[in-house]
Amino acid sequence: MRVTFTVNGRRTEADDVWEGESLLYVLRERLGLPGSKNACEQGECGSCTVRLDGVPVCSCLVAAGQAEGRDVVTVEGLADHARRRALARGRPYPEGAADGPALAPVQQAFVDAGAVQCGFCTPGLLVAADELLERAPDPSDADIREALSGNLCRCTGYEKILDAVRLAAVRQGARDARDDQEGSVR
């Protein structure tokens, strides 16, 4: 079958999709977007987390056909998603480097805080953490833990992931100033 949907802001078609294929498989193997990771493929580890119409989901548990006509954001589109969110809210966004767009604040914070080791869990954690910061710009530690409890990490012990989300909240808050209470752009 053919699946037509929007991936990272771009209308996309996948052909010859077998009915049993997951959204994760189609993203990784048919669309050349391997950023969403395949750590358990049973919805337990969160490494494949993407946003489907804004909602974080395990893409391994979404049949590709369920994505028909819908909007998907993967880690590959996270920086652009954050930039469009900032612009929609009328906020400044960091300048990109010469070789590409700036990282989303949460991506940069993961690098700076040492929250990336092997990095296999990182894409899913970033998508989940960015969604948290979108709806709760100043989360408590308990909020962060609750929001990220579906994402397993085997390397870091999570402490530096907490550091990274706190850091992203501070940086985003510092830039976003007063109007964080508007809520999600979606």
Binding site: P34, Q107, G114
Partner: protein, 795 residues
């Protein structure tokens, strides 16, 4: 001595020059946060096929027949291979003993053993075709523990052993046995005023790295194969792969692809030979990616253990003797069991001074899943038991458990049970003092002023199982000792190639090693070393592959020491050659060129007085200077097979933990509130990475304490829980605040004084959590992991 890295103490790196001692950021960080970093499961090739492994459904059986006809006839299938298709006379591989068949031959020895391979044009086609292969098994009795493995007439797991341990072991189902005997434990026991004994059980832990076993094999025009896989040691893989493929090593070219964690689980081969066989047979690139279920069968686990200990002491708390016996279950194939035995034996009494010792450690062959390397490597199991014993002894003596440990703690100059002198700092008492001195987290953190309790801070969390009634707190301590590097006389070397040249007017260093970056941050540290030694800002790290000499394994906390040492040595050679070049070119212009003590700094050649003699760019001009260096740590020696005496280890590392737990005694639920660690790292080359390693290692120990265990049916030897639904690893909700106190007491024998970091924190976190749960509940708790039924008396 410095303390660094409070959990929120972020170091940005940008204010630094990126040399050693600074928290430089990962060079692969950008790729990893954008999803562009290519892990082994992301490999892709035009026209590639997908490989799949058929695995045995029983633990021990004769294979009467394998019928592949229906599978082979499936549309989209390109090849189906069994043992009969192995192309060379060599059909087995293994790290220490070559006892593992590339595909099962005649019999299977454990649940999940690879039996056949399929290559197809879609992964689902390959899976479905594999399901059509008919294997006729005639089941055999299983051996699953010491009693069944060594009983008279026991089934032999390997009936025709010829390996170098087989002549020394007491039974053919014992892989290796190592005693360590020093002094006279029996005589000392008579002097003891208090004796405590205990029997302990340590469950089977899994590395549970997130990136599944995977990779791509590409057949080459010369009849060889190019392999892109995740591993811990490229050259060791190649040495095992090539003979089974019937190829000379130079025709097996390996490149490290992105590695999603390892923790010991990638030391043994998984899909490397299988993908290569399929690629060579079909003439097409073959990708293999295990799913999580298969991953639990695709790598060796941590040895489960049964441990018996006897500790004696005088009334004033001085240890008189320790006797212990540790039985490790090695499962169906040897993997690294012999070395694990050596570690458990030599480190079996912990970081304590005891003159009279009697230790016996052995590993069994059984029909359980094969066990091998995992972070902590034999020292973990022992630490769990000897630290429980120290608490038991403290209770018997009426002494504070930390005080008892400090009274017996080893320090520099101490003698190990093996007779080896500890010739670098061993701050055991100081580490304990530091974790004990940390302020305790506030009590009853779930209480919210004037409101309902925040159940998220309680055992059971959002399950809302308690509002604080029945919740008790406990505090526990533990400390451990781990060896660094490969031991027992192993030629533990590494190779580095360093090149320096001018690119775009700027001096650039390029570092090429075969070190497997598995997440630990070796690539960051190598660049830091090159910047420090060569005074350049820009360093390029080449992909790890087999075009450069072996780096040894990314394990045993050894890579920063050994490959870091090789990079340092290669840089020193490059530096000398650059200085020679400068002397030849510019020596006549300034007399200081003739002096020793010139260094490279800030892109310049600088005298020891700080005077800049020349720009590196001018010295090099259009010349490139390159050096390749092998580097070895001090040699070690084998342990005596009877007494266990010998200078077997090169370096020791030490960590101490304090755990604070809260237990809901009604439901048996545990919340670890805080897990504090103090560790001596000799020199923190990258403090941010060091703290990350300590927190990650501590968390794996926490997981072992309260949740992680591969359950193997004792009757059928089948694995019951090969999934992340049933094998639990800690989530962010299970993991507490982890303050880390880093000591830097230099080891004069090591590069920069450093001490391997990655493993020591995995040792003491498990017993510290157990001690805290015991303190909270008053229960004895002699097994790990602790499950609710052990706390409620219902299991």
């Amino acid at each position: 001595m410095t303390a660094t890295g409070t959990p929120t103490g972020l170091s940005q790196g940008s204010r630094t020059h990126g040399g050693i001692g600074e928290s430089t950021l990962r060079p692969d960080g950008f790729l990893k946060v954008t999803g562009e970093f290519a892990y082994s499961s992301d490999m892709w090739h035009e026209d590639m096929l997908w490989g799949h492994t058929l695995r045995s459904t029983v633990a021990h059986a004769e294979i009467r027949s394998v019928d592949i006809a229906e599978a082979l006839a499936t549309p989209g299938v390109y090849a189906v291979l069994t043992y009969d298709d192995l192309p060379a006379a060599v059909k087995h591989y293994g790290l220490e003993i070559k006892d593992t068949p590339a595909l099962a031959h005649g019999k299977v020895r454990h649940h999940g053993e690879p039996v056949a391979l399929v290559a197809a044009d879609h992964p689902e086609t390959a899976r479905r075709a594999a399901a059509k292969i008919r294997v006729d098994y005639a089941e055999l009795p299983v051996v699953t523990d010491e009693a069944s493995a060594t009983a008279p007439g026991a089934v032999l797991v390997h009936e025709h052993r010829t390996d170098h341990h087989s002549g020394r072991v007491p039974h053919p189902n014992v892989v290796h046995r190592q005693p360590v005997v020093r002094g006279d434990a029996s005589a000392a026991a008579r002097r003891a005023e208090v004796i405590v004994t205990g029997d302990y059980v340590f469950g089977m832990q899994d590395q549970a790295f997130l990136g599944p076993e995977s990779g791509l094999a590409v057949p080459a025009d010369d009849g060889g194969v190019d392999l892109y896989v995740a591993t811990q040691w490229l050259h060791s893989d190649r040495a095992q792969i090539a003979p089974v493929l019937g190829l000379p090593e130079e025709k097996v070219r390996m490149t490290l692809s992105g590695v999603g964690g390892a923790f010991g689980g990638r030391e043994d081969l998984s899909m490397q030979i299988h993908a290569s066989l399929l690629a060579l047979r079909t003439g097409k690139p073959v990708k293999m990616v295990y799913n999580r279920f298969e991953s639990f069968f695709g790598h060796v686990h941590r040895h489960p253990a049964r441990l018996h200990y006897e500790h004696g002491a005088t009334r004033d708390g001085k240890l008189t003797h320790v006797r212990c016996r540790i039985v490790l279950d090695g499962g169906a194939y040897a993997s690294s069991s012999p070395a694990v035995v050596g570690n458990a034996a030599s480190l079996g009494i912990g970081p304590y001074v005891v003159d009279d010792i009697d230790i016996e450690v052995l590993a069994l062959y059984t029909n359980n899943p094969p066990c091998g390397a995992m972070r902590g490597f034999g020292a973990v199991q022992a630490c769990f038991a000897y630290e429980a014993q120290m608490d038991k002894l403290a209770a018997a003596l009426g002494t504070d458990p930390v005080e008892l440990r400090r009274r017996n703690a080893m320090s520099q100059g101490a003698t190990m049970p093996t007779g080896q002198t500890v010739d670098s700092p061993a701050p055991v008492a100081e580490l304990l003092r530091r974790v004990k001195a940390l302020p305790l987290p506030p009590e009853r953190q779930w209480e919210v002023a004037g409101g309902a309790p925040d159940v998220r801070a309680l055992p059971g969390g959002l399950s809302n199982t308690t509002h604080g009634e029945g919740v008790v707190r406990g505090v526990g301590y533990a400390v451990g000792i781990k060896n660094v590097g490969f031991s027992e006389g192993f030629d533990d070397y590494s190779t580095a190639r360093v090149r320096m040249e001018v690119v775009g007017g700027v001096p650039v260093a390029t570092v090429h090693t075969a070190m497997a970056e598995v997440g630990q941050g070796g690539v960051t540290v190598h660049a830091q070393i090159a910047r420090t030694e060569l005074g350049v800002a820009q360093v390029t790290i080449q992909p790890a592959d087999t075009r450069v000499g072996s780096a040894g394994s990314t394990s045993a906390s050894r890579q920063t020491y050994v490959t870091g040492g090789a990079v340092k040595a290669a840089c020193e050679t490059v530096r000398e050659r650059v200085l020679d070049l400068g002397r030849r070119k510019l020596g006549s212009y300034h007399p200081a060129w003739a002096h020793a003590g010139l260094r490279l700094e800030g892109g310049k050649v600088v005298t020891d007085a700080g005077e800049a003699l020349a720009e590196l760019a001018d010295v090099l001009a259009d010349e490139a200077v390159e050096a390749e260096q092998e580097w070895r740590h001090r040699p070690t020696e084998a342990f005596d097979p009877v007494t266990g005496q010998g200078n077997g280890h090169v370096q020791y590392s030490f960590a101490a933990h304090r755990a604070v737990v809260e237990v809901d005694t009604e439901l048996g639920l545990v919340k670890v509130v805080e897990l504090a660690c103090a560790q001596d790292v000799g020199k923190a080359l990258n403090p941010l990475s060091v703290v990350g390693q300590i927190q990650g290692g501590s968390t794996q120990g926490l997981g072992m304490a309260v949740m992680e265990e591969i359950l193997v049916d004792p009757v059928t030897a089948k694995v019951r829980n090969p999934s992340f639904t049933d094998y639990l690893i800690p989530t962010i909700l299970d993991t507490p605040t982890m303050p880390v106190d880093v000591l830097e007491l230099a080891d004069e024998h090591a590069p920069y004084g450093l001490r391997g970091v990655g493993e020591a924190p995995t040792l003491s976190s498990t017993p510290a959590v157990l001690a805290a749960i015991r303190a909270a509940t008053g229960l004895e708790l002699n097994r790990t992991p602790v499950r609710p039924e052990h706390l409620t008396g219902t299991g």
